[in-house]
């Protein structure tokens, strides 16, 4: 019994799951699900489909060169069962996957290194160009505040700023969408969950390397 990797997407295909295609030249193709099988039948190139491991590796989105990756290999030399050896192997497997997870995290960090700066620059530009779209106080509100200030004897501007901050804080998203749950893996191996109540996912003028939030979750699945 083996956990094979899907020929198309590279996900692990567990026993009893998926389907195997045996070509008449003897080569076998294991698919993890019908999606992969169908795509294969359509003669699609897995390197050109963003959801496959082949694409991600090809596009440099995944750690490809590392010493931890060299441990697992199909060897064609049969090794006789040895209790001590197997015990050592199991221990080693744990340790290897631990180290690998750490390195992958670092890899991800390095890959994402300039992202925040880019985002900020884009945001600044956007805000500078679209100042008029930011929420502001209504005319009637201003009048009310002016009256209130006159009554209380405080500065109008002070009141207005306060009110504006309130307004912005209470703003609720009108666009479709909900809260986004993110799993953040720390370098020490721990996982913390962050809930961000962002509104709609509005990202049409961003470059597309921020679309792999799922990379965090997928990291230790292969």
């Amino acid at each position: 019994m083996r956990v094979e990797n899907c020929f198309f997407c590279g996900r692990p295909a567990w026993p009893s799951k998926g389907i195997t295609f045996m070509r008449n030249d003897g080569k076998s193709f294991r698919f993890c699900r019908s999606k992969c099988h169908k795509n294969f039948k359509m003669k699609r190139n897995p390197r050109k489909l963003k959801w496959t491991k082949a694409y991600r590796k090809n596009a440099g989105k995944e750690m490809v060169v590392d010493s931890t990756l060299q441990f697992a290999a199909r060897r064609n030399v049969p090794v006789r069962y040895d209790r001590e050896l197997f015990a050592k192997t199991l221990k080693a497997m744990e340790r290897i996957s631990e180290i690998r997870a750490r390195r992958e995290r670092v890899f991800y960090k390095k890959r994402m290194a300039g992202k925040r700066a880019r985002e900020l620059a884009a945001a600044r530009k956007l805000v500078a160009a679209n100042e008029h779209l930011l929420p502001r106080l209504r005319g009637s509100e201003k009048r009310r505040l002016a009256e209130l200030a006159a009554e209380r004897g405080v500065d109008v501007e002070e009141l207005e700023r306060e009110e504006l901050a309130n307004l912005r804080a209470s703003k609720k998203s009108k666009a479709f969408g909900g809260e986004v749950r993110r799993l953040r893996v720390r370098t020490d191996g721990g996982v913390e969950e962050i809930t961000e109540a962002t509104g709609g996912h509005v990202d049409e003028d961003m470059d597309d390397d921020d679309d792999d939030d799922d990379g965090d979750e997928e990291m230790d699945t292969d």
């Binding site: 083996r2 060897r75 180290i99 670092v106 925040r116 945001a123 805000v127 779209l133 666009a175």
Partner: protein, 660 residues
């Protein structure tokens, strides 16, 4: 060597007919006196020349088709000389050849004369003369042509004798049983009759011995008289004896039934002995069934023995009538002949110093006799344990235990399960029944099993330590300051706004089967303007007041007021309890939209929160299909083009579908 394909030779008359009719057929026949003289001359010249060419061709063919005597094997040459008389043959061919030359001369002369002829008549006469002379010449060839045709026919029927192959030559007095012998050893159908000179010419038969083909030549009988007195029939035998390199079987009839005494036969042998030089000669005593060698008188026996004295002659016995000894004679002669020929070949190919010629050595090198195992014999070997092994016996109580016995003891077939693990070969036998992990933590354990895992893991740990030291894992988590967060939030807000604006614009754009109304013509209420301006932060109170003031009509109110004191622009507060009669009246004079308080129609008629959510769910459900089918509403039954041209034309590669 056959001459079966010589073309028939026509007689003189036939020859003339062939030539002249061919001239007539192949050349134009229309000529008139009125034609130009050069044309007439050319016409007749051509006739003469063509006739000559045909004659030359035909005569040449005859000459060349016959064999040239000097080129033939001496045997064939002599045979032809005897049969057809070489001189006669040569003269006949010579005559034909001469006639050919003469015809050519005639043609040349008359062509020259034709050049000077002046009229059609003259030309015609010249042509007639030329053709006539040619015909005369051919007529004179009558005898040679006839002779040549006879020779041709005879040649075609001559037996196919190969002078160089393995040959047995049967010779002897007439009627001694030569043909019977040939008949019995080959499939040749030689005539056998009880009188002398049954065989009048050479006959050839073939026999196979040791997968080789032998040629057996049956010759006519020879009488014992000088060579000059011999007739044609006898001479054929002599020719064959003289020229063929063969094994000669000299037949002697010891019963003397042939009509010639034994003595005479012996004498014949002696007289033709010069012909046997360099040949193997076997004297075959035939008709042994009538009289055996032992029955002869001693002096006759001595006489016969005397024949074999010279050493190269052997005495054999046979009886063609009873077939006794015939096969033995055949086998013996063939064997000897073969050995002789091989030794001769070897001798011919070997130089005087014993070195073999290149051709011979090439053949000898190819001959290799293989012997199995190089002559070594191998002994078999049976181990001692196998020798002492007791034979398995089912009924013996101390028999060996078989797997079948174990199966029987443990419940038999279908119940017993073979324990394969028992036979595992492991370093420690106690591991045999371990549960071996296959998959661990989503990975195949066997992929990681490696005898030198320790060293590799050690190397990895060292690398890890080094990286740790180098600060590979140190992360600089910068939590953005507040201003950055604010900027991001603002950007977020702006993006959302953009999206909403875009959506709104999209909604506006879709016509939904309505007429296009110019923007100017669209009526907008003042309140909308006010709201918009208010949103932009402009105080709209004054604007509103001014606008209303302008819209108010002067003078008396249009609406009739019973009380007459009503202000038409007083707030129409919907108060059911404190509604005065005046107010009720006013409400009647206004459109329903203004008289009744605006109700939220989403909440209208819904009792409580649960009913509300249920209603919402229902609404969503009913819209699902419409949305899925991309319908604008329930009434949208639009059917688009089934295959829009622009979506289906052009090539698509595997890469993308977005652009065509």
């Amino acid at each position: 060597m056959t001459w079966k394909d010589i073309a028939p030779v026509p007689t003189a008359q036939e020859f003339i007919d062939i030539v002249l009719s061919r001239t007539q057929r192949r050349l134009p026949t229309q000529i008139r006196a009125g034609f130009k003289i050069s044309r007439i001359r050319a016409f007749y010249t051509r006739k003469v020349k063509f006739t000559q060419e045909t004659c030359s061709e035909k005569l040449g063919q005859i000459v060349s088709s016959f064999p040239v005597l000097t080129d033939q094997h001496p045997f064939h040459r002599d045979l032809m000389n005897i049969l057809y008389d070489a001189d006669h043959f040569k003269v006949a061919l010579g005559q034909v050849s001469t006639a050919k030359h003469l015809i050519e001369t005639i043609s040349r002369d008359y062509v020259r004369l034709l050049k000077y002829s002046q009229s059609l008549f003259q030309c015609k006469q010249l042509k007639r003369a030329a053709l006539g002379r040619m015909a005369t010449l051919i007529k004179r060839l009558k005898d040679p042509l006839q002779y040549l045709d006879q020779v041709r026919q005879h040649l075609a029927r001559l037996p196919d004798i190969n002078p160089t192959t393995r040959t047995l030559l049967v010779a002897g007095f007439p009627n001694v049983g030569k043909s019977s012998f040939v008949r019995s050893v080959t499939r040749a159908d030689t005539p056998v009759e009880p009188y002398a000179f049954t065989t009048k010419s050479l006959f050839v038969g073939h026999l196979d011995y040791k997968y080789l083909r032998y040629q057996v030549i049956d010759t006519p009988g020879i009488l014992d008289h000088p060579l000059e007195e011999m007739n044609t029939i006898e001479m054929q035998s002599v020719t064959a004896l003289a020229h063929l390199r063969a094994a000669v079987l000299f037949f002697i009839d010891i019963s003397e039934q042939c009509g010639y005494s034994l003595k005479a036969q012996c004498n014949l042998f002696k007289s033709i002995k010069p012909l046997f030089a360099n040949k193997m000669v076997f004297v075959v005593l035939n008709k042994m069934d009538i009289k055996t060698f032992e029955d002869l008188e001693p002096e006759m026996q001595a006489e016969l023995q005397d024949l074999t004295k010279s050493g190269e002659v052997e005495l054999l016995r046979a009886s063609c009538a009873t077939q006794d000894g015939v096969q033995e004679v055949k086998n013996h002669v063939c064997e000897r002949l073969l050995a002789e020929r091989v030794s001769q070949k070897l001798k011919a190919g070997t130089a005087s110093n014993g070195a073999m010629g290149s051709r011979l050595s090439e053949v000898m090198n190819r001959i290799h006799v293989a012997q199995p195992m190089g002559g070594v014999t191998r002994e078999y070997f049976i181990p001692e344990a196998v020798k002492t092994l007791k034979k398995y016996d089912k009924n013996d109580p101390e028999r060996r235990t078989l797997a079948r016995d174990i199966e029987e003891a443990n419940g038999g077939a279908g119940v017993f399960n073979v324990d394969l693990r028992k036979d595992y070969i492991l370093a420690d036998p106690s591991w045999k029944y371990d549960k071996i992990p296959e998959i661990y933590d989503g990975k195949n354990v066997y992929d990681y099993v490696d005898p030198d895992i320790d060293a590799k893991l050690q190397a990895l740990e060292e690398e890890e330590e080094r990286l740790e030291k180098e600060g590979f894992y140190e992360s600089d988590e910068d939590i953005g300051d507040e201003s950055e967060e604010e900027i991001l939030q603002k950007a977020e807000y702006i993006r959302e706004k953009h999206k909403l604006i875009r959506n709104e614009a999209k909604m506006r754009k879709s016509l939904k089967n309505r007429a296009i109304i110019p923007r100017k013509a669209i009526k907008k209420p003042l309140s909308q303007l006010e709201d918009h301006l208010d949103q932009l932060g402009v105080d709209t109170e004054e604007i509103g007041l001014r606008g209303r003031a302008q819209a108010m009509s002067r003078g008396r109110s249009v609406t009739r007021s019973r009380a007459g004191t009503a202000d038409p622009d007083a707030m129409d507060v919907d108060s059911t309890s404190g509604a005065t009669a005046k107010e009720r009246l006013r409400s009647l004079s206004r459109p329903r939209s203004r008289s009744v308080a605006a109700v939220n129609r989403r909440d209208d008629g819904v009792q409580d929160e649960t009913a509300r959510s249920k209603a919402e769910r229902q609404a969503k459900l009913s819209q699902r299909k419409m949305n899925r089918m991309a319908r604008q509403g329930e009434a949208d039954r639009h059917i688009g083009a089934s295959m829009p041209k622009h979506l289906f034309s052009g090539k698509r590669t595997i890469g993308k579908t977005s652009r065509r």
